[in-house]
């Protein structure tokens, strides 16, 4: 069996999220070097603050300023920081209960090594130099033995409050399409189209995915189909897609390649768009260095009889 194909696959989104009133006050506060908590109905002060009471589910809005100093409630030494984490040098993950809060905040703690960290140690916020109203406005925590600084008197009302965040996310995968699709793509490299026949219903699937969705069994008998085929149905595209240099209108069609048990789709060229019809016989057109047919054009044969492709519509 030839080696399966592999390729990098990057999934990346700049998630844009709007903030509720409490989140907005908290993150705007960080921008202004102020930490705010929210008082829950049982009197506890929650930091980071939430908008609904974790016990009663009532909406809560009672913001309380708390100190940027606190105590480590638990920690873990991270000797190999990963992409996106707050520090690039080894650091401790820590849950920190800030002075005046009853719950703990997760962040990084900058310390020389694991021996310098312990549960119960005193720490303070190290502010990021550039702050935008995000949890990363806290660069990290750092060891601190001094007094808690005086509170600023912030109420949660700020000028120009932050109302949303953009949370970038990127994950890097190595994608493999598996055995059946690898064989299909490899064959296309030689300008051939291969499908797989279901051992039960005998239908030939193009492109193959290794399973017959009707019978729920593995397909493994490889069958070469085409190169010619029949247009089974089509539509006329009148709106140009972004970044697509194909003149409109053009025809997008379902094409049943000879020998295939179902139609695949492709663009029809080499014929005026309003002359494309069901039953039109077509063949693939390859461009230099292409990995799949650029489009299909008429072969000049007589149209196929409806009965020969009616099951493939």
């Amino acid at each position: 069996m030839p080696e399966v194909l592999k390729a990098p696959l990057v999934v990346e989104f700049p998630f844009t999220r709007s903030l509720g009133p409490v989140q907005s006050a908290f993150l705007t506060g960080l921008r202004e070097r102020v930490v705010l908590g929210v008082r829950a109905s049982d009197g506890r002060v929650l930091v980071p603050p939430v908008e609904y009471d974790p016990v009663t589910a009532e909406e809560i809005r009672d913001l309380v300023e708390i100190a940027p100093t606190g105590t480590v409630t638990t920690w873990a030494w991270n000797h190999a920081p990963r992409r996106g984490q707050p520090l690039t040098t080894p650091f401790a993950w820590a849950l920190v209960r800030l002075d005046g809060a009853d719950t703990a905040l997760l962040h990084a703690l900058d310390a020389p090594g694991p021996d310098a960290v312990r549960t119960g140690m005193r720490v303070r916020v190290r502010w990021a130099e550039e702050r935008t109203g995000a949890i990363t406005d806290i660069a990290c925590f750092e060891p601190y033995d001094g007094e808690a600084p005086r509170l600023t008197g912030a109420t949660g009302e700020f000028e120009d409050p932050v109302t949303g965040i953009v949370a970038a996310a990127r994950l890097d995968y190595t994608y493999s399409p598996g055995r059946a699709q690898t064989a299909y793509i490899d064959a296309l490299g030689g300008r051939r189209t291969v499908g797989e026949r279901c051992p039960s219903c005998r239908k030939v699937y193009v492109p193959p995915r290794g399973a017959c969705p009707t019978c729920g069994v593995a397909t493994d008998e490889q069958v070469e189909v085409g190169p010619r085929g029949t247009v089974t149905t089509f539509c006329i595209v009148n709106i140009k897609a972004k970044n697509l240099d194909i003149e409109v209108p053009y025809v997008y069609a379902h094409i049943a390649l000879d020998g295939a048990g179902l139609a695949l789709h492709g663009r029809i060229g080499g014929i005026p768009y309003d002359e494309v019809r069901m039953g039109l016989r077509v063949e693939p057109v390859w461009t230099e260095g292409a990995r799949y047919p650029d489009h299909y054009r008429p072969t000049g044969e007589p149209d196929a009889d409806y009965d020969t492709y009616k099951e493939l519509l």
Partner: protein
Amino acid sequence: MTSAPRDREIAVVAFAQTAHRRTSEELSEVEMLMPVLHEVLDRTGLKTADIDFTCSGSSDYLAGRAFSFTLALDGVGAWPPISESHVEMDGAWALYEAWTKLLTGDADTALVYSYGKSSPGPVRDVLTRQLDPYYVAPLWPDSVALAALQAQALIDAGDTDEPALAAVATRNREAASANPHAQLKGAVAQGDYLVRPLRTGDCPPIGDGAAAVILAAGDRARELCARPAWIRGIDHRIEAHGLGVRDLTDSPSTRLAAERAGAFERPVDTAELHAPFTAQEIVLRKALRLDDGVHVNPSGGALAANPIMAAGLIRLGEAAARIHRGESDRALAHATSGPCLQQNLVAVLEGEPR
């Protein structure tokens, strides 16, 4: 809704799983899954057309593609049309949905399957995407780091220490020696710290795998299986998503789910616990009041094979299979999801008296 008899009995009648491996890149997800579906159907003699309801569990973030579960449906044979559902969670929660479906009386048989390929992506980073997106996910705390915070909290509380964690790892992986499907088994070195206090030995292997079970109701279950594993109770509970709000040394959600599932009514002889990290077994044993007389993770548990999205369903399947084989009369199965045991499902399974 159709009214169902209140005492409708539902059982796991068959279970199958893949050999779990570090990578299965030569196979697409449906190619990996299909042999398991065939195996579980063969065990009952059922065909896909005989199944009244199908429910699956998987994650697009593992696959790196949207609606990835729709491709796996090719392995079920979704033509002619079937009654199907999906949860973006571990298959244990798909089983819960199927169980409720059978309780309504709308279906007598259900196929539940789940699968996950962790090999294509950086799974520690992928799992950060399930965290609170405002305060936590932007810091990218990976799954091992969060489990390590929980482990340190337990050590500080005096509930465990590093040698005790190592003993949990050893016991599970020795038990896995008898499990042909396990990925990591026998004597495995505790290794270096991954995120202190957790060493590589305290963490689950990363791998690919799939599992499937068949559920059936009442007499249908008796026809399909010599000794059905009757689900006496099943419940799942969730805790606050803020890690700093929770007491990480305890799992009240597990305890409550177990209580609602009837786990404390009579002792169990077996417990399959979904504890991917050693320290989590300490938390679960305490929450579930399991003493040394209970056979915990005879399969080796998630420390021996942790195909994400299938590992919880496998706990239910392994517990049921022990009842099928007559090795257990009353077993508890547990599945978890989210960081530091955030969500927990508990089921109690019983075989008929012998």
